[in-house]
């Protein structure tokens, strides 16, 4: 019988550290600031925004939201985003994606400069994650998964990890972050044959599929650590992960719940990234 490993203690520890760093920056005369850019008012963006605003307050980081109409044109949006990027008081920029269809993401990727791009939109940061270059900013969600593994002292070096899902927001960056920590990583996806066989080899299993409760005990190696990155909302509005937690907890050594797992760490990572960006920008200014 394994144990549930919750996100809150991880988020609390990160928050405490970030708060200290933010206070140091303030004493040095710099007020770290996150700018959230939201287009339209999708419910999941709004939920994440509320949670991010609260976290920044807890971390002593200033936070502003720029809310733009859902039907904004490419030209107007480009102008707004450039203005945010050029604002010297802003150190980190979070742009909610996917953007509405009239906006072409490819033409917007370079507007947020790499050192303010705290959620990995700019190809410079995408390339850094691929290269294992830690000066960049990986997306917050796979970073949150890594923070949980670190907090609960899960050994990664030389061990087998399986990542189910190959998206650019979770699966692929998670695979690179695990490889950087010397895990032997298998990337699984919808075309993987005998998925159960593959996931059952994994000492660390990361589920980022988007199918509620898909991972049952048959997919889990005895004693594995299971990180559930799925966030699925059922008809009654309940959150469920990609992992059938009650079924898998029998076999896993450790398993993250949903809610109260990875999701609760994501905004803490966001805050950590803002402070990191602030330091990078300050150091560059000093040179």
């Amino acid at each position: 019988m394994g144990i549930l490993i919750k996100g809150k203690p991880v988020a609390d520890a990160i928050t405490e550290e970030v708060r200290k760093n933010a206070s140091d920056l303030r004493q040095g005369g710099t007020i770290p600031k996150l700018k959230i850019v939201r287009v339209g008012d999708r419910e999941d963006d709004l939920a994440y925004e509320r949670s991010a605003v609260k976290r920044m307050a807890a971390c002593n980081i200033d936070c502003e939201v720029l809310a733009l109409p859902a039907d904004i044109s490419q030209a107007d949006f480009t102008e707004q985003l450039k203005a945010v990027n050029n604002d010297d008081s802003v150190h980190g920029i979070l742009l909610f994606r996917p953007l509405p269809k009239q906006l072409n993401e490819n033409d917007l990727k370079y507007i947020i400069s790499a050192e303010k791009d705290i959620d990995c939109f700019n190809p410079i940061n995408v390339a850094k994650v691929f290269e294992g270059d830690e000066t960049g900013f990986p997306p917050c969600t796979p970073s949150a998964a890594m923070e949980i593994l670190k907090h609960y002292n899960v050994e990664l070096k030389g061990r087998e990890a399986a990542v189910v899902g190959r998206s650019m927001v979770v699966g692929k960056p998670a695979a690179m972050l695990l490889t950087k920590e010397n895990a032997t990583v298998t990337i699984c996806h919808s075309r993987t044959q005998n998925l159960q066989e593959v996931t059952k080899r994994a000492d660390i299993l990361i589920a980022a599929i988007g199918k509620p409760n898909m991972i049952t005990a048959e997919y889990v190696k005895e004693g594995a650590t299971v990180i559930d990155v799925g966030i699925n909302v059922d008809e009654e509005g309940n959150l469920t992960g990609d992992v059938n937690t009650s079924d898998c907890v029998e076999k896993a050594a450790m398993i993250t719940p949903v809610p109260a797992g990875v999701g609760s760490v994501t905004t803490a990572v966001l805050a950590k990234h803002v402070v990191k960006a602030c330091k990078i920008i300050n150091n560059r200014g000093v040179e």
Copy 2:
């Protein structure tokens, strides 16, 4: 008993197709041109250069070499590279790396514009390989491995692949190219425990380690396809791969030799990339 799959038929087929494309471009008034930029005169750079010059001639692609002194300064090199990039008659640029130590690669990465960067130096192309965006240019060596798999009709979809090695020139991009083709890919490296167990699961095994003859039959699944990307030179100047070919050919269904395997396809891919770059630049010009 498996068969040796040689690079030459693959390179020949690519060369024929590229030659046709190059002739079409010439008839349209554009002369496709590769510029090779070499700093110093390392023997492996010179060998590759000779082979590339020959291949471009076979493909009806113009090719020029800019040879610079090994002790060139960062400022002078930057100026030279910018001039090459700004030359409208040049469609593809191959810069030999690693560069001498006085040159900082990080500060040079963005000089070759993404559409002329045919060997994946610019982070824009690095990010595209990671994303599986086929508008970019993956490094030529892993692309050559993929061309061989395609030419010999090796089924990838849903099958297990293992890549041994996690470099940015071969291992990691190979893993992404295989994932894009719907293989289930495991990235192995020096810290992988029980490497034999892991590689023996693979229907497709890519060796890019840099250790002569390391992969013996014990590492190979019965009936697997083995692609040997290793190029090791022994004391007598003989080339050997990372795979003990004569040992593994008993178990593998198909296996590439060294020499005459992946290496012979690399310059054909380079030529293919030059023509692709030429078309991209032309189309952009027309817009």
